[in-house]
């Protein structure tokens, strides 16, 4: 369920990395030491990151009752979730094991997600 894709249509060449590249550290993680099947690793990661980013972005858009008193997370709190998600995501773990990547390769800093969102 965590990796549910919401992509209905992507770029002409099927590459999602122009979007994933907005995440500053993703490009670096992708370009380093991936020799198994670069295309599919890249696509898998880009899709994974995008899927989460898209959901987060939606959750941060203006919505009904955003001004409710007393309840709700601040924008900052929601943004901070980004980092946690990437570390916790099970599919990320699976990808990592499958392709023999080091943890640090995938320790994507989504701190600047706020700017993207």
């Amino acid at each position: 369920m965590s990796g549910k894709s919401k992509v209905l249509a992507g770029p002409l060449d099927g590459k999602l990395d122009p979007f994933a590249r907005e995440l500053p550290h993703l490009g670096k993680a992708l370009s380093r030491r991936i020799d198994a099947d670069p295309e599919s690793v890249e696509q898998g990661l880009a899709q994974l990151v995008l899927t989460i980013v898209e959901l987060l972005r939606q959750l941060m858009e203006r919505q009904a009752l955003r001004r409710i008193d007393g309840g709700g997370l601040s924008d900052e709190q929601i943004e901070r979730l980004g980092t946690t998600f990437m570390e916790l995501d099970r599919r990320m773990e699976e990808l990592r094991e499958h392709f023999g990547l080091e943890a640090e390769d995938l320790n994507l800093d989504l701190g600047p997600l706020g700017k993207l969102l």
């Binding site: 549910k4 249509a9 999602l16 919505q63 009904a64 998600f85 916790l88 993207l116």
Partner: protein, 185 residues
């Protein structure tokens, strides 16, 4: 604590763990607040609940993380705006949100009119649209009739072929996150 998920005006009962709390002419879909860590799994569970729900009734998603003490507090938060929210429900009934973003594909650089041209064509295929600020050349949400979603996606694909200088990403269908508020008056 309970978490507020969505506004609806369909009084039919909900499946556990969801409950409907009446608030004037609308109702609030609530669930027990998740005490666990807010992680990606929790977000997708919530998203799936909303997506299942939006297949059976019109709804307005409530901002993630909105919690109150009990049903009475939920009703009190919503009832004063019930009229406005009922109008917003009419606006989104029978439609879903589709999100589109466009960035430069590389060489050649897109002409200044390309993102606007894409937006114009898509806006014509949608009931309503909302432009969002962002680092992309185009970041927009479109409110698309349920029956028109396939056609809308086909239009995105056609535009992508016409504009190889752009990379266009289209996601959805989403609950109407960008159309959940009454239009500015």
């Amino acid at each position: 604590m309970i978490e507020l998920l969505a506004i609806t005006d369909d009084p039919s009962p909900l499946r556990s763990p969801l409950r409907l709390v009446p608030a004037g002419e609308v109702g609030v879909v609530v669930a027990p607040a998740d005490e666990g860590e807010a992680d990606a799994e929790a977000l997708w569970r919530r998203e799936s609940l909303l997506e299942d729900l939006m297949r059976e009734r019109a709804l307005l998603p409530i901002r993630y993380g909105t919690r109150v003490e009990d049903d009475a507090a939920a009703a009190a938060a919503v009832a004063p705006r019930a009229g406005e929210l009922a109008a917003a429900l009419e606006r989104v009934r029978g439609a879903v949100e589709v999100s589109v973003r466009a960035v430069a594909a590389g060489d050649p650089e897109p002409g200044p009119g390309a993102p606007e041209a894409v937006h114009e064509r898509l806006a014509a295929a949608a009931r309503e649209n909302a432009l969002h600020a962002g680092p992309e050349l185009l970041r927009a949400a479109y409110l698309v009739d349920d029956a028109e979603v396939d056609g809308f996606v086909a239009a995105v694909r056609a535009l992508q072929h016409e504009h190889p200088e752009l990379s266009i990403l289209c996601t959805g269908p989403w609950p109407p996150y960008s159309f959940a508020e009454a239009p500015e008056r």
